[in-house]
Amino acid sequence: MKYYGKEKCRILKEIRAEIARQNDIEWVVSECKHQGNCKGTCPKCEQEVRKLEKALERREALGKRVAVVGVSASIALSVTGCVNPFSQTTAGTPLPETGDSLPPNTESESLHETSAQGEEVVTEMGELIVPGEETTEEITEFETMENLMGELVDGEFLEETTEPETEEPLMGDPVVEGEYPEESTDDERETALIRPPLAGMPVFEEDTDWDEDEYEDEDDSLMDFDEYETAKMDPIILGQAPDAEE
């Protein structure tokens, strides 16, 4: 289950309340009147977190016990078991930049198998929408929701939202402006710019941590999508056993 909108806000509020409770901090929880979806980063939530942090700092300065680690573990969300494992690498989203996932749009079935080891968990979590050439109306709706970054989209905030003044990337947004190392060379700058990938090669900087030549696949004949489309028409190709590795 991915948490959207008010549900995420509610969970974060609970976490803050529990921290306050565990530290004997007087904490008045007010209802957020924001309508619509929220990423938990609205000014009200942010203000409450900063207040809580300051209260904890004061408590610590007074030599009192401060309990934060794991105090909301019971509210914490596990990724194993019945929880949706979708992540940005495999989750569908109409806005690749956000990296967010969409909830399954079918009924999910959970399968739990216990192996001889007694710990095996196999979970089926329904469907995952991935970007296609055209999006459906349903995805467009989520696209709007996923545009949230503390900005007003639907509904009202209690306090006026202000844009961050720094050039830092907006949370959830891809990097807006490129920054280059102070002494970057022209080659580095060129590398950092967008360019069409070389055939069959991903686009990333040359100075990766690994030696590409050393790590080159034994078989350099990458099958691009056009080849696959052709191959797909011949069921024998897809169904044949892989060649034995040398």
């Binding site: 690749p96 196999v122 991903p202 686009v203």
Partner: protein, 216 residues
């Protein structure tokens, strides 16, 4: 003057306050630019294709700089047992950065990684030292399907998975097995699950891609 001895991370995007999708607790998702694969239905193609709006696809950040960004939600990480999830792209191409980042962050934070494991073996060994839980997207265990979908073969992936299992144990690895329309079948997925179980994987997530089709 840039200290070139400090490892940097090609930050393509990051997202706050993730819950239940990228690790236990509340996490920040940090995406790397660059990936050895070219999956047909990649969720974040801008991390290897580049952006479509003409802007640079990433910035380089040091461990301290990344910490300065993500620490805004420190209270939530501590309270819920969360931390930072590295994804992308392929984050385990930057294990020297992850190692340095681990030294910078509070020890109570967790580090999770979402990876295809199509990386050098030394990356697996380094990651095993600093990553608390791995989410491995295996695509498909059938080499033909894997090659068709990603453009690469999966021999090294299987070897890396076996190595990772031996280094960290099955309880720290979740393997995701997708049903990919037009590329694999339910039988392929079942075969993948069986093969993974045979390798010792105990935590598996099976799910389906749904590809929006053009209307009309």
């Amino acid at each position: 003057m840039t200290d070139r001895t400090v490892p940097t991370f090609p930050l393509a995007f990051w997202d706050r306050l993730r819950m239940a999708t990228d690790g236990a607790g509340v996490t920040a998702l940090v995406g790397a630019f660059g990936c050895p694969l070219q999956c047909k239905f990649c969720i974040n193609p801008q991390t290897w294709k580049g952006r479509t709006d003409g802007k640079p696809p990433f910035i380089r950040v040091t461990p301290e700089e990344l910490y300065d960004r993500v620490k805004i939600d420190n209270l939530y990480y501590l309270a819920t047992g969360g931390g930072v999830t590295f994804g992308g792209g392929e984050p385990l191409l930057h294990t020297d950065f992850l190692t340095a980042f681990r030294a910078v962050i509070p020890k109570e934070w967790h580090i999770y990684a979402e990876t295809c494991l199509h990386i050098p073996e030394e990356g697996v060994r380094a990651a095993a030292e600093v990553v608390d839980h791995f989410f491995v997207d295996i695509k498909d265990m059938n080499p033909t399907v894997y090659k068709a979908y990603t453009g690469r073969n999966n021999t090294s992936v299987k070897e890396n998975l076996a190595l990772l299992l031996s280094l960290v144990g099955a309880e720290r690895i979740t393997v995701r097995v997708p049903r990919i329309p037009d590329f694999n079948t339910a039988a392929d997925v079942e075969a993948s699950v069986d093969e993974l179980k045979g390798m010792g994987v105990t935590i598996l997530d099976v799910f389906s891609y749904k590809i929006p089709r053009p209307r009309g």
